[in-house]
């Protein structure tokens, strides 16, 4: 007999009171050993979402970052990382959305097991684009719209 898991509720707009202590401190990251992902989280009207918090998990690390007033985030992950599991929490989400981001060339990402579940025309939303410098990536999250990011049911 399985117990019923406790219901989720929104983080609301003031989550930083409770969650900020684990926001990633990028000044403590040795950039030689890190890759940086930056991006903007936007709503169905294309407006940036300033009250979102993202959690990136890999096999061996965890990083939590909030968005800025412009809806932008920046996170450092370990240099070898090719796939992050990502949860996004925000006001207006009664439960988190779960997605993934690939930090490798597009052909490799398209070969990855999970992405085979995803329609070809939406796979691109899970692949970070190379940034202006080495080890930098850009990955935007669209909550809705033609380019809505792929979110997983789990």
């Amino acid at each position: 007999m399985k117990l019923i898991p406790t219901a989720s509720q929104t983080v609301g707009p003031f989550f930083s009171i409770g969650l900020a202590h684990m926001h990633q401190d990028s000044t403590k990251i040795n950039s030689a050993n890190a890759q940086t992902i930056t991006g903007t989280v936007v709503d169905g009207d294309g407006r940036p979402i300033p009250d979102c918090v993202l959690e990136f998990s890999t096999a061996s690390s965890f990083a939590r970052v909030p968005t800025s007033v412009e809806g932008e985030y920046s996170v450092n992950v370990e240099a070898e990382t090719t796939l992050c599991e990502v949860l996004l929490f925000m006001r207006g989400l009664l439960k988190p959305v779960y997605t993934q981001v690939y930090l490798c060339d597009a052909a490799k990402a398209r070969d990855a097991i999970t992405s085979k579940l995803v329609p070809q025309d939406r796979i691109g939303t899970l692949i970070a684009q190379p940034g202006i410098a080495a080890k930098q990536f850009v990955w935007n999250v669209n909550m809705q719209g033609d380019d809505e990011t792929v979110f997983f049911d789990y």
Partner: protein, 237 residues
């Protein structure tokens, strides 16, 4: 708590949806395209999330974080965190945040015209013990208005964030207080379709943990998804 639940169909009743018209902010933020079903045994779901942090004893007493004591009704909230097999989740990090007794958050974006309390931040964190139990001291938060609809008020609540074994067990929720007259009109509370599941977010008043001449006790038990409990605290790096 022992009613059987059947996978995704069951969760549609016991968990809120992404789009809930009564909660206006969901309309432009909840996904509209179909979610991609991950296989139940997908390894991604069992990858650990490392929500670990050093926790000091004062982090579990929200009334002792400043020079003076906060105003309000002192409370002791305790409970047990178990996985969906009923096994205790040990060493789970719980993060808490809440409004003060007047219904005001210690946050620059909270513009409610209620007083801030210089002796209350409303931030706490703690780890569950070897039995999955937790307990913290705080003050009862006040109800507060929000702009979702005409004369909208949130029932008093405490935000909980929990890390279990992996993605599946990551939970953010809100604990409510028994008998709140605001439940009936709160879209966030009522976004959970199943009445029993909704009711389980309401703590119960508890004489056992009520301390004479000190504080009222409330009990709030939590069930996390996933059956592999988190490693013992001693395994933490």
């Amino acid at each position: 708590m022992t009613t059987p639940i059947e996978g995704r169909e069951g969760r549609k009743k016991t968990q809120p949806p992404y789009l809930f018209p009564g909660y206006v902010s969901t309309q432009k933020r909840g996904p509209l395209k179909p979610l991609i079903l991950l296989p139940e045994n997908s390894s991604s779901l069992f990858r650990p999330v490392f929500g670990r942090d050093s926790v000091r004893p004062t982090d579990a007493d929200l009334t002792r974080q400043h020079a003076g004591e906060p105003l309000g009704e002192r409370i002791i909230v305790s409970g047990k965190v178990v996985d969906d097999d009923g096994h205790p989740v040990r060493g789970a990090l719980i993060e808490l945040w809440q409004a003060n007794a007047a219904g005001r958050y210690h946050h620059h974006l909270d513009t409610h015209a209620a007083p801030l309390d210089p002796n209350f931040t409303g931030c706490g964190r703690l780890l569950t013990d070897a039995q999955g139990a937790y307990s913290f001291v705080s003050i009862k938060p006040g109800a507060y208005p929000w702009k979702n609809h005409e004369n909208a008020w949130r029932p008093a609540h405490i935000h909980f964030s929990l890390f279990g074994a992996g993605i599946l067990s990551r939970l953010v929720t809100q604990m409510y207080f028994p008998g709140d007259p605001l439940f009936a009109r709160d879209p966030i509370f009522n976004s959970i379709p199943d009445e029993a599941a909704r009711t389980r977010l309401i703590s119960t008043f508890d004489w056992q943990t009520t301390k004479p001449e000190f504080a009222l006790g409330y009990r709030f038990d939590i069930v996390l998804r996933g059956s592999k409990s988190t490693p013992m605290e001693t395994d933490h790096p």
